[in-house]
């Protein structure tokens, strides 16, 4: 043991050396007002502070603003700068602790890549050459162009694209804030980002609304958890510890995932299926349940339209009007302004042996052929089972690349106890993604595994129901157009047969050039738009392709209210740092736009007042007594202690029951696409578009390209964060050694992944955690971070006509060693 001559000081360090806290740095040279002392932050009365070693520190409560979990935690501020983000000492409402991205996100505030001033493009789009202009000039230019376009081409000629980048009450993400309000007032075309939409679309066919998970902590009540193409440990990390704890108390985890994700490595059962085959597995599981009568008969009768009769002549539901009963008028639909029609669907009552309205029978027939008023009918359940009979385990297993035993295991496990079915966005990112959602919701209905503690179907999401009127003060709204349809629309200049000129695009809180599919295709229509304005904090891929670039404040530089999360909470994020250079908040930029466009009177109020309008004025807030002031004081408030989705199994459908058979199948967005009338009434199976051995693309490009979450990104966010780059330094692609050796690729070589749409060069990593034939790339890299190309060049612009969703995983490629200068 060493003898230390010195005695430790109070702090335990014998020679504690003070740092110089006021280092001047060249990185933020020229900054205005970033030094010294505590600033008073408007609207925040609860500034906690502490003094240590004569250093004044302020502690702010802040939240992440991204669509993972919106964790809330503390920002420690010293000399006006955030020095660390750390979990709240008093804990957070559901014990969330932020991840490494949340930890390190304050790096963005003074990152050299930050956009500091309004910029105007000089040179070609994408050349990344800019001239600094004033805000006045920027707004003038924008307003002038927009007014001209609106006069000549109509209000829809201005398009608005938002992403999930900065999502809170006042900010633009997820169609929020004053920018969303502005877009509605302007009657913009809204470019639906077609991302991760198939799941919600599919489940809503059955449930009337997108399925989502019970409040995260409820998972402890589940006996079995099934994860379909999702890895909590890589995407929604805050949901992992409740699941881990549940598993420690006996909950069993089944993971269905082509590759051994970290979650799969901890599962009790891992089923490794072929990419894009989740729907047929689920359909086969349902086949088994029906065959062996393991479905929940009572649930089907009470809470679903299983017994509702379907006409064999036109495949519509049999209704009371078919029995000669006149429909009634119902309450006015607030959205259409028209009266609703009440014409109840009909069931066959086995007690009286006649057809009655669906809510008038206590013993309806689940199955059977009947003739009612001369009309031949069978039940909705029959329609479902007819489809299911196509998927016996023996056949489904072969197609899915798994064993019959595995399907049987899954089926038996689904049939009893409290079951959680958690889908991810991977399985829905194929052309059959809508069917995946539809089938999974149907499975939950067959077994009755939803609507109560411990039983749930869906991915996590809770949104506080804000005051909808805030978004549409003039009663006008945007027109949704899928971003995947823009190729056609810009090419033809038409939408649904009518002229539809799009002359300008506004992008906020998003990075479509990186996050959307098929960059090269996208750039073709992008460059047909005359005038593009991008609002961003960093020089992302998309920012580089703007005509005018507007510098936004970072979420840490604004006060706001968080209205979405993985548990039902509404919380505050306090302003923790002063905006830098000439950045402006999304809300302020919207005000400038509105003023210049002549809509100033709808944007006159302060942030504070608008927050009250959004939160306090909402029915839920009024009912629960939630106000902005309370949120500011208490930091976070739970608005649904129980947090059970579809509680009581009441569904927002016509009948209040879940749809076993869907009469009218509407696409997610109708933009004039051709629709197969046979699809969508019940879930069905068809293979992925490209990522399938029989597909046309596969003949030329035999490998499937799947993405994976990069641990250091939320989508593309934090791409410029040096700490994150230390953890993940460069683009990589995982390749099975079998595929690699065939192509002369060694572990660590640089390889070129390519198909007809483009290419990307990345470093190859041998990985055997799935069967050969699949490449996996961690996603979120910007073009500037590749040697050549980028991942988004390779993805497919194909949109399933119903789901209208980007099939990110449904991609065929090949790979070869990279030779520089090829």
């Amino acid at each position: 043991m060493s003898e230390n001559a010195e005695k430790p000081s109070d702090w335990g360090y014998p020679h504690l050396t003070r740092r110089s806290f006021l280092k001047t740095t060249t990185a933020i040279a020229g900054t205005v007002a970033l030094g010294g002392g505590m600033t008073s932050f408007a609207g925040c009365s609860n500034t906690a502070s502490r003094t240590m070693n004569n250093v004044e520190e302020a502690v702010k409560t802040v939240s992440c603003c991204w669509t993972c979990q919106y964790c809330q935690y503390n920002a420690v501020v010293r000399d006006g700068r955030i020095v660390k983000l750390e979990p709240k000492k008093e804990g957070s409402l559901r014990g969330s602790r932020m991840c490494l991205r949340g930890r390190s996100r304050f790096r963005a505030l003074n990152n050299p890549n930050r956009i500091k001033y309004p910029l105007k493009r000089i040179g070609e789009r994408g050349e990344d050459k800019w001239e600094q202009i004033t805000w006045d000039e920027a707004i003038e230019t924008i307003a002038e162009k927009w007014k001209k376009f609106r006069d000549e081409y109509g209000n829809r000629s201005i398009a608005y694209y938002w992403g999930s980048g900065n999502a809170s009450a006042l900010a633009s993400g997820n169609f929020g804030g004053l920018m969303g309000r502005f877009a509605n007032v302007m009657e913009c075309t809204w470019l639906d980002y077609c991302t991760d939409m198939a799941l919600g679309y599919g489940t809503s066919r059955a449930l009337g609304a997108a399925a989502s998970q019970n409040e995260a902590y409820d998972i402890k009540n589940a006996d079995k958890v099934f994860m379909w193409g999702i890895s909590y440990t890589d995407s929604w990390w805050q949901l992992w510890w409740p699941l881990a704890e549940a598993m420690e108390h006996g909950t069993q985890l089944y993971v269905i995932d082509p590759s051994l994700s970290t979650t799969a490595s901890k599962a009790d059962v891992w089923v490794s299926n072929k990419a894009g085959t989740d729907p047929i597995i689920i359909l086969s599981v349902m086949n088994y349940l029906v065959e062996h009568k393991l479905y929940n008969h009572d649930f089907l009768l009470k809470h679903t339209t299983a017994c509702v009769l379907v006409r064999k002549d036109n495949n519509m539901l049999l209704r009371m009007s078919d029995l000669g009963v006149a429909p009634e008028e119902g309450p006015t639909d607030p959205l259409t302004g028209k009266a609703t029609v009440i014409d109840p669907p009909v069931v066959w009552d086995t007690a009286t042996n006649e057809a009655v309205a669906h809510d008038k029978s206590s013993e309806p027939a689940l199955s059977g052929d009947f003739v009612v008023n001369g009309i031949k009918v069978d039940t909705s359940f029959d329609r479902l089972t007819a489809e299911l009979s196509k998927y016996p385990p023996e056949q489904a297993a072969k197609i899915a690349g798994i064993s019959v035993e595995e399907i049987e295991t899954l089926a038996v496990a689904q049939s009893n106890g409290n079951v959680y079915n958690i889908p991810g966005y991977a399985s829905q990112a194929y052309a059959n993604g809508g069917e995946f959602g539809h089938a999974l919701a149907m499975l939950a209905l067959l077994t009755g595994s939803l609507g109560r503690p411990g039983a749930s179907v869906g991915a996590t999401w809770w949104s506080f129901p804000t005051n909808g009127a805030f978004l549409a003060p003039t009663g006008t709204g945007v027109n949704a157009v899928p971003v995947l349809g823009m190729s056609t629309i810009m090419e033809t200049g038409k939408l649904k047969g009518k002229e539809y000129p799009i002359k300008s695009l506004l992008v906020a809180a998003g990075n479509p050039i990186c996050s959307s599919a098929s960059t090269n295709d996208m750039l073709k229509w992008w460059n047909k738009i005359e005038f593009i304005v991008v609002i961003d904090i960093q020089f992302s891929d998309t920012a580089r392709f703007a005509d005018i670039l507007l510098p936004a404040t970072h979420a840490l530089e604004n006060e706001d209210i968080m209205v979405s999360s993985y548990y039902p909470y509404v919380g505050v994020t306090e302003k923790a740092s002063e905006p830098v250079y000439e950045t402006k908040s999304d809300a302020d930029i919207a005000r400038l736009f509105a003023e210049a466009m002549g809509f100033g009177k709808y944007f006159e109020k302060s942030d504070d007042d608008y927050l009250r309008e959004i939160i306090d004025e909402s029915p839920t807030a009024k009912k629960l007594g939630i106000t902005v002031e309370r949120i500011r004081k208490e930091k976070e408030i739970c608005f649904d202690e129980k947090g059970i989705r579809f509680e009581g199994c009441v569904f927002p459908t016509e009948t209040g029951k879940a749809n076993i058979y869907l009469e009218t199948v509407a696409p997610r967005i109708d933009w004039g696409q051709e629709l197969d009338p046979e699809i969508g009434h019940v879930p069905t199976w068809f293979p992925p578009h490209e990522a399938w051995a029989d597909s046309e693309s596969s003949q030329k490009y035999p490998l499937i390209l799947n993405s994976q979450r990069l641990r250091t990104r939320w989508h593309t966010g934090e791409f410029e964060n040096e700490w994150m780059l230390e953890v993940s330094p460069e683009p990589t692609v995982k390749i099975n050694p079998v595929d690699a050796e065939k192509r002369g690729i060694k572990d660590g070589d640089y390889v070129e992944v390519f198909n007809d749409r483009g290419h990307a060069v990345a470093r190859a990593e041998y990985a055997n955690d799935r069967h050969p034939g699949v490449l996996i790339y961690p996603k979120g890299w910007q073009m500037s971070q590749f040697k050549v190309g980028s991942w988004s060049e390779l993805t497919s612009p194909y949109a399933d006509p119903f789901a209208v969703n980007t099939s990110f995983m449904d991609v065929a490629v090949d790979v070869r060693p990279w030779i520089e200068g090829r």
Binding site: E6, G12, Y13, H15, M52, N53, L260, E722, Y766, N768
Partner: protein, 209 residues
């Protein structure tokens, strides 16, 4: 009053290898660019997050690696000036930057590869200012540094930053000399492994398996 034996328990069943504890430590201690005192390691295949075995019989798990604050440290024996030393009252192995002459003998002696960092140049902070805790000691060029169990936080009665930082709640901290402490109870009730046990250093970090 008997001396404490402070240490950590990491539950590898819970650890998902997310690197959050590594980044937490890095920011808390204002560690220079390119350096980590605590790192997540994949126990599986040859690259990060890869599995061992032949598909589909695969397995992987994670450990985190930082100074093990050994009961019988190899480093404190060999430091010629006693710049690295074990604190008697709680067993934390500390590093005195002011004393360190930069001979790197401790790095040569420590069996735990990579837990010690020598500042081969002036520590850079690309963010341009000092981050982390106000009390974390300043780094010095040409000295050795490592995890110090956030002694600056211990002095305030707080746990090391990485403990609270773990979002899987897989990290535990406490006194192994106290049989009632959470960590003592964990290692007496669950199977665990330790690293480099054969080297006789008696580390104070346990991995529940």
């Amino acid at each position: 009053m008997s001396a404490q034996r402070l240490g950590m328990v990491v539950d590898t069943k819970r650890c998902v290898g997310c690197h959050t504890c590594a980044v937490t430590c890095k920011i808390e201690n204002n560690i220079g660019d390119g350096v980590f005192w605590n790192r997540t390691m994949t126990v599986g295949g040859d690259s990060i997050d890869s599995a061992s075995g032949t598909y589909p019989n695969l397995s992987k798990h994670y450990i985190t690696l930082a100074c093990q604050h050994c009961e019988n440290p190899a480093c404190t024996r060999v430091c010629p000036v006693g710049a690295t030393y074990k604190r008697e009252e709680d067993g934390v192995v500390l590093q005195d930057y002011d004393k360190c002459i930069g001979c790197r003998m401790c790095i040569a002696a420590c069996p735990y590869t990579g837990v010690r960092n020598f500042n081969w140049e002036e520590p850079q902070h690309s963010i341009g200012y000092d981050v982390g805790d106000a009390d974390a000691p300043a780094h010095q060029k040409h000295t050795v540094e490592k995890c110090m169990m956030c002694a600056h936080r211990l002095a305030r009665g707080e746990e090391p930053a990485c403990i609270l930082g773990c979002l899987a709640k897989a990290r535990y901290f406490g006194d192994f000399n106290d049989p009632q402490s959470e960590v003592s109870k964990l290692i007496s009730s669950r199977t665990y492994k330790q690293l480099q046990v054969e080297d006789g250093t008696n580390p104070s970090v346990y991995f529940l398996v």
